[in-house]
């Protein structure tokens, strides 16, 4: 029993980091906004890492899930806010719709795109994302390019006071929850057969099949998990928090790239990596936005290149190497 628990020790630093962030945000005036931004990046990095870090597949279209999550929540609020008796239940419906849309697209993508490898897979995922975005705009579904604005509906359903609390606290708080959940699932997969199967897939997919691994099944599990978590972040941090959605705002590949930067900075395939990466990225973005607004990307682009060339293992990869053989080893994964 002790053995089983100790296998999950690497979660301790992760949860500790989230807790500290939360406490700082909650008790120090004026800090909540920044902490929420950090949680957002940690959650996305953690979620994306479950698929990309473990399988080595590059999904440039990951933002599709975040976008569909946003749409799910938006649809839930827009269409169900008229039923007053539903109360806070409309948010539950929104979340369910978000997860439903994301799993639909994840399964479709898994069926089609996961049969491709490497560059072909990456291209296919970009294709799905763009195809979906322009289809929404072109066929004018869900408001087409004008999107959906449902802040009013939200106000009507809950009143100013509650909406204020929802958008400034609970939306961000649920991102924290998702980040923690993502970390837990990540750890759990690492320690279960899923993790071993995915390692085999990452290293040599054909040999993995010969070893008896149903590669499609395990890739789909990781893909779906990662997609659903992303949809959750979208539903809360974009849908509920902002009160509107435009296709041109959400199906944006740049957000996938942000996830990639977060994960790479911290260390792909590690548990603590996305947290460290999220903190570094979020803080520097926040800070750069203050001191030189509009030039963040100009600074980040060369940084990405430098990391890739000079430190592809990321911070946690380096840290793990340092700590190998010490007492602390069991806490870092």
């Amino acid at each position: 029993m002790k053995n089983t628990i100790s296998k999950y020790y690497p979660l301790i630093p992760v949860f500790a980091a989230y807790l500290i962030m939360f406490i700082i945000g909650f008790f120090m005036p004026g800090m909540w906004q920044m902490v929420a931004l950090l949680a957002f990046y940690c959650a996305l990095g953690q979620s994306w890492n479950i698929f990309m870090g473990m399988t080595g597949y590059v999904d440039f279209g990951y933002v599709t899930f975040i976008a569909l999550g946003t749409y799910g929540m938006s649809l839930g609020i827009s269409y169900f806010s008229q039923f007053e008796w539903l109360g806070i239940g409309i948010l539950v419906i929104g979340l369910i719709l978000a997860l439903f849309l994301a799993s639909l697209s994840a399964l479709l993508e898994a069926f089609i795109a996961l049969r491709l490898r490497g560059a072909y897979f990456a291209i296919a995922c970009i294709g799905i994302n763009e195809g979906l975005r322009y289809f929404i705009e072109g066929a004018k579904i869900w408001g087409g390019s004008e999107g959906m604005i449902f802040f009013g509906a939200l106000m009507q359903a809950f009143g100013k006071e509650t909406v204020n609390q929802l958008t400034t606290f609970w939306a961000d708080f649920s991102v924290f929850i998702i980040a923690a959940l993502a970390a837990f699932l990540n750890m759990h997969y690492m320690r279960s057969k899923i993790g071993y199967a995915l390692t085999a897939v990452r290293e040599d997919e054909d040999a993995a099949k010969v070893m008896g691994i149903n590669t499609t099944k395990y890739k789909t599990i990781a893909f779906l998990t990662s997609g659903l978590l992303g949809a959750g972040v979208g539903a809360m941090a974009w849908g509920l928090k902002l009160g509107h959605v435009y296709p041109g705002d959400v199906f944006v590949i740049h957000y996938t790239v942000e996830c990639i930067v977060v994960v790479l900075l911290g260390g792909a395939g590690t548990l603590l990596g996305p947290v460290i990466g999220g903190l570094i990225y979020g803080l520097s973005k926040y800070w750069l936005a203050v001191i030189m607004p509009g030039f963040q990307l100009l600074i980040f682009a060369p940084i990405i290149i430098i990391i890739i060339v000079a430190a592809p293992e990321g911070v946690v990869g380096l840290l793990k190497r340092r700590l190998k053989g010490t007492q602390l080893e069991m806490f870092i994964e």
Binding site: I123, G138, L298, V309
Partner: protein, 294 residues
């Protein structure tokens, strides 16, 4: 009536398709030789567009002059990025080269924004227009089409008749075999990357003839995606395949637009763009090696 319209639009599509084809040859060349998908491809097209705009508006030089300038600048950029970054990533996992090229693209966008600002801009190369029974076409588009064909043909002969060109084809065919046959693969990598980027920047010059006010730092992303569709259509590693696929793509794009415009209650432009991606998706599914590929 509708047929005249369709025929007219298809003519425009064919002309644009030639430029699309040229714009994709570089992507295929780079993928064929160093197995890297240049995710920052479109941003190099954007560089070509700004070169043309600047030379035209500040120096009063015709876009014809911009063509060699763009080629040289593109190749210089290609060599620069190759020796600073790409060289180290050829054997690395795919993820890293995808990210590196993406980051290059962002870097170019942001530098362009720093220099030119984020506005949409354009210029007017007044070289008259030609009237056909079905439509009227600005001569600039015709010249762009001719230009892309001339460049593609030139490349074709260069590939098949020169020693260096043959060596590049050998590397595309078989990496290890080529090393044995005494081809200096390292130099071939660098050169192909540079030529690929050079071609792409050059195609940006020709593209400006089709986008009267569409030049801006963020114009590239859309072309990257179109280039993917075209490259996959053409077999991904074959520059000639890419050229023909470009022609086909231009036709489909304009044809589909004409038809979508007839459907009430939809926005034909985004629908056309989305069609391209469903096409890509379908292609990858049924024949990942490309329709025109082996």
């Amino acid at each position: 009536m509708i047929f005249t319209l369709l025929a007219g639009n298809l003519t425009h599509g064919l002309l644009l398709g030639g430029v699309y084809g040229l714009a994709t040859m570089g992507l295929s060349l780079i993928f064929g030789v160093i197995n890297v998908v240049n995710v920052g491809h479109g941003q190099f097209i954007m560089v070509g567009a700004f070169v043309t705009l600047t030379m035209f508006t500040t120096l009063g030089l015709s876009p014809v002059v911009s063509i060699p300038v763009a080629l040289i600048l593109g190749m210089a950029l290609g060599f620069f990025f190759f020796y600073t970054v790409m060289r180290r990533l050829i054997r690395a996992p795919e993820l890293t080269s995808l990210l590196a090229t993406f980051a290059m693209g962002i870097l170019l966008e942001e530098i362009a924004k720093l220099i030119f600002g984020a506005d949409f801009r354009g210029y007017n190369w007044g070289v008259g227009r030609i009237t056909l029974p079905i439509t009227t076409i600005p001569m600039s588009k015709v010249y762009a089409f001719i230009g892309s064909i001339v460049i593609a043909l030139f490349l074709y002969f260069w590939f098949s008749k020169t020693r260096l060109g043959t060596a590049i084809r050998a590397v595309i065919e078989d990496n290890e075999g080529a090393t044995v046959c005494g081809v200096n693969v390292g130099w071939i990598y660098a050169l192909s990357f540079a030529i690929g980027i050079g071609l792409t920047v050059m195609s940006g010059v020709l593209l400006t003839m089709f986008i009267p006010v569409g030049i801006n730092p963020y114009m590239g992303g859309g072309y990257t995606l179109k280039a993917f569709v075209i490259a996959v259509l053409g077999g991904l590693t074959s520059p000639y395949g890419a050229f023909f696929a470009g022609l086909i793509f231009g036709l489909i794009e304009n044809g589909a637009y004409t038809l979508f415009a007839l459907i009430p209650g939809v926005a034909p432009f985004p629908l056309t763009v989305s069609l391209a991606f469903w096409m890509l998706f379908f292609l990858l599914l049924v024949k990942p090696t490309g329709l025109l590929g082996k």
